[in-house]
Symmetry: C2
Subunit: 145 residues, 2 copies
DNA sequence: CTTTAAATAGAAATCGTTTCTATTAAGAGA
DNA sequence: TCTCTTAATAGAAACGATTTCTATTTAAAG
């Protein structure tokens, strides 16, 4: 089963973040699509609704969501902030494929981090703490449009 | 054998970039250490030498170097620009481990991109064009210091 | 040498992001 | 339901990494 608005609310409470209308509006918006957003896009979409937020508030809300693991940061070459709410309920470690045309995000189950980590730690005597792995390209829908 | 100042100069010429004292100074600086630098660090190190550059010039020089593949961009969570001149002469595809303490960079030969790419393209019917893979942690020297 | 387009300096602008302060509201407890 | 405390929010302002702009210099081709 997928992540729902209720499981998101529970996650807010678990982390002692108040359940406010603005936070719910952001979550609802993110849940509705399988794509990543910039803070400005979130801000823009909520404008002229009954639960719009100021741009600094959107930034703060998304950063808090990221801090508690509710949303994931997406890496792009423009080095700006992008966030994605992954609907996979299993919190299992995974990465993402993003479409450079439509911003769609697909989870990738395969990750070879453990094997590479072990290799590096043996060979370099280093301590590997984290990794980035992300694929980019064109999704099926954008290819055939 | 390793990348040398001469092979770098050849690479500039191949790409019709003029061989200027400032560019040579930047290359020499980058070649001297196995670590990545921010543009400001490069700027700072060249200050008060006979070949210092203005900060905007350092940005431009590094971007040009990146465009011709002479330097590699390093990804960090502060979303700022960092560059590394990889001394591996073989231009073979590889990734990097970076030390979060001393900024040291080590090449990682293992990359499972091809297998993941094939998997994704089959499963999602997407076209995978590029990927990021980078490890971060603490290098041997920083662990034992 | 001359010539020309590329490279550079330095000031200024840009713009994504963060900070600050006053105001509002969630939610715990009475 | 009402109070109270503290977190959340708005909006203006600041911030700072990066880029742009224009005048000046210089690499290197001929
Ligand atoms: Mn992984
Ligand atoms: Mn790879
Ligand atoms: Zn797409
Ligand atoms: Zn180190």
């Amino acid at each position: 089963m997928d992540i729902s608005i209720d499981s998101c609310i529970a996650q807010l409470r678990r982390n002692t973040l108040k359940v406010t209308p603005r936070r719910l509006a952001v979550i609802t918006m993110l849940l509705a699509e399988r794509r990543y957003f910039s803070p400005y896009e979130v801000y823009e979409r909520l404008l002229n609704t009954d639960c719009s937020s100021g741009l600094p508030s959107v930034y703060r809300i998304l950063q808090e969501f990221s801090a508690i693991g509710l949303v994931t940061e997406i890496e792009r070459s423009d080095r700006q902030q992008y966030y994605f709410l992954c609907k996979e309920s299993s919190g299992a470690h995974h990465h993402h494929f993003i479409c450079r045309i439509c911003c769609r995000v697909e989870p990738i189950k395969k990750c070879f981090f453990d094997s590479v980590k072990k290799h590096i730690e043996t060979e370099l005597d280093a301590q590997v703490e984290s990794h980035i792995f992300q694929l980019e390209g064109i999704c099926a829908s954008c290819r055939n449009h």
